[in-house]
């Protein structure tokens, strides 16, 4: 169940698997660590909400420059969306393999997750480059500043996620499925799924609503 029978008693090492009502004492690390990370992810969502609120306020502040319906390509967005969604799915498969301590499949699925994430990022960078090339860069207007920052912030998080995936693969290879490595995998999984949740909001509010006929 909890697994290792340690002779020593830490704060959350060898602790209880309580339902949070505190009756049996502190909960174990495998619960405490992902919960803390979940809280961090929620605070990150609040950060994005501030950026979304900014985008909504500035969506029409185009300063005579290009507006959303002139700039966004729905086909590219559709491909990005599928790529990120599939990468979320594959990350789930990686988690399943990791829980079963299958190194090969964990690494394969993690690699595919990373590659799909890289596809997403590549398309996004291409889109940004195109827009900047046409003179629709973030310095052109408040609307564009808001767009580049909101979508770019998400892209920066994806980039950080890719670095993390790479580090995770290295750690699995070097250290195997030790408890602290598994906890990090859990946190990575929460992070990666949360990124897709944010993307749902982005493609809906920014891209779809921005290009309504």
């Amino acid at each position: 169940m909890t697994g290792v029978e340690t002779p020593a008693v830490g704060l959350t090492h060898g602790a209880s698997e309580d339902t949070g009502l505190g009756h049996r004492g502190p909960e174990s690390k495998s619960i405490v660590v992902p919960y803390g990370f979940w809280l961090f992810v929620l605070s990150d969502m609040v950060l994005f909400s501030a950026l979304f609120a900014t985008y909504a306020t500035l969506a029409h502040a185009t300063d005579g420059g290009p507006a959303s319906n002139e700039l966004f390509d729905r086909t590219l967005v559709a491909i990005e969306t599928i790529a990120l969604l599939l990468s979320s799915f594959v990350c789930g498969l990686a988690m399943i393999a990791a829980r079963r301590r299958n190194l090969i499949w964990t690494q394969i699925w993690l690699l595919v997750t990373g590659l799909l994430g890289a596809v997403f990022l590549g398309i996004e960078l291409y889109e940004f480059a195109m827009m900047i090339g046409e003179g629709a860069g973030p310095q052109r207007s408040a609307f564009l500043s808001a767009f580049f920052t909101l979508v770019g912030c998400h892209g920066a998080h994806v980039t950080a996620g890719l670095l993390w995936i790479g580090t995770m693969m290295a750690q699995f290879w070097a250290k195997g499925f030790q408890p602290h490595i598994m906890r990090r995998m859990m946190c990575l999984s929460i992070f990666w799924h949360a990124l897709d949740i944010i993307w749902v909001a982005i493609f809906t509010i920014v891209y779809l609503m921005g290009t309504l006929p």
Binding site: M1, E17, D18, T19, G20, E27, S30, I31, V33, P34, Y35, F37, W38, L39, L42, S43, M45, V46, S49, A50, F52, A53, T54, A56, T57, G64, R74, A78, T81, I82, L85, L86, S88, F89, G92, L93, M95, I96, R99, R100, M186, S189, I190, H193, A194, D196, I197, V200, A201, F203, T204, I205, L208, M209, T211, L212, P213
Partner: protein, 130 residues
């Protein structure tokens, strides 16, 4: 206390799956399917002319929220069981704050834009210049 009873009392980490290989994989497959469906419908709603204009934005928001829910349930395994209470409460708090920040800002800034927009003389000047 029996294995089964202890398991029922176990609190669950957010994102931690709850059961066997088949059902875990199934959870992700169903989630993927639903998410793809909702994405497709969103794209369709945004391009069709058969839905009343103002309803499109509302429809897109509803579909987005539904898809976020799919992610939360099928990928992050957030459920309403007692072992998940802390996770759900944290999520509810986060959602409340997101709601307050976004709706509050949009409401306030909307009023500001109406009341505090550039005066006609200024706009005239800008248009003359620009």
């Amino acid at each position: 206390m029996s294995e089964h009873e202890r398991e029922e009392l176990m609190d669950v980490a957010p994102g931690a799956p709850h059961d066997s290989l088949m059902s875990e994989t199934l959870s992700y497959i169903v989630g993927l399917g639903l998410a793809l469906l909702l994405t497709g419908v969103s794209f369709w709603v945004a391009s069709t002319s058969s839905i009343w204009g103002p309803g499109v934005a509302m429809g897109l928001v509803v579909l987005a929220i539904a898809q976020m829910g799919v992610h939360l349930v099928f990928f992050l395994h957030i459920t309403s069981g007692p072992d998940n209470t802390n996770n759900v409460l944290a999520l509810a708090f986060g959602v409340l704050i997101v709601f307050l920040v976004m709706i509050g800002t949009i409401w306030i800034m909307g009023h500001m834009n109406v009341n505090m927009g550039p005066m006609p003389e200024l706009t005239n000047l800008q248009m003359q210049r620009g």
